[in-house]
């Protein structure tokens, strides 16, 4: 399942809902991305996430599908927020559930690496010294490329 939303999410409730009624699940991995108050040597007051409605959902669904094909997953969930966020706020949640932990761990890392380079989101950071668009990092491409067949 994928969700793109402005509202915050409750990780415990999401895990419970995702695993409910499926006793074949033996392990659940969740990753929660948070907004930091520092970017390089800049202090950040707010971060605003813009996205491409329609294409975002399409790409997230495809990334999840790819993970389902590559690993033995019983359930998975991606939630990505957009709009204005503050340091400490949750931005992104990936949950992977499988019979054995290795599939859940690997698939979760894959989801995060791929969504960073394939989902159309853009971050704008605002601090006391003004605001700017966050630039993509080469290290993100490197992280995503290690999952290439």
């Amino acid at each position: 399942m994928i969700r793109v939303q402005q509202e915050d999410f409750d990780v415990g409730a999401e895990i419970k809902a995702l695993t409910k009624g499926n006793p074949s699940i033996g392990g659940v991995v969740s990753f929660i991305g948070l907004v930091r108050d520092i970017a390089g040597d800049r202090s950040i007051d707010t971060m605003t996430l813009e996205h491409y409605p329609g294409m975002t959902e399409k790409m997230l669904a495809r990334i999840e599908e790819e993970a389902q094909e590559r690993w033995n997953l019983d359930a998975s969930l991606i939630i990505h927020r957009y709009g204005p966020l503050n340091p400490g706020d949750q931005i992104v949640l990936t949950i992977t559930a499988s019979a054995h932990r290795q599939d859940a761990f690997e698939a979760n890392e894959f989801l995060m690496d791929w969504l960073k380079t394939k989902a159309p989101f853009w971050k704008r950071e605002a601090g006391a010294d003004g605001d700017n668009w966050v630039e993509a990092k080469d290290s993100d491409d490197v992280a995503a490329a290690r999952w290439s067949p």
Binding site: L34, M55, K116
Partner: protein, 85 residues
């Protein structure tokens, strides 16, 4: 067709979306950018560095030399920066 601009492209161009019918001699994405740049300085400035421009045709990633024939929606944007750093 619908053209969409995101992030700093949207800011530099001054709008997020417009309906346009490009000239017949506009065949590829690169042609489309050339044509857009001829429409005003705001476009010329936004598309100045093409290495940092990404494009999607009908919500699928595309390349600068891809044809635009039959496209209903073309979006231009900088490299994506979602997820968590």
């Amino acid at each position: 067709m619908t053209l969409m601009y995101f992030a700093w492209l949207k800011q530099k161009i001054g709008m997020g979306e417009e309906e346009l019918t490009p000239h017949d001699n506009v065949v590829t994405v690169a042609d489309l950018i050339d044509w857009l740049c001829s429409r005003g300085d705001n476009f010329a400035t936004a598309f100045e560095d093409r290495d940092v421009i990404r494009v999607a045709i009908n919500q699928e990633f595309a390349e600068l030399d891809d044809p635009i024939a039959g496209a209903a929606e073309i979006a231009f944007f900088p490299p994506v920066t979602g997820g968590q750093t």
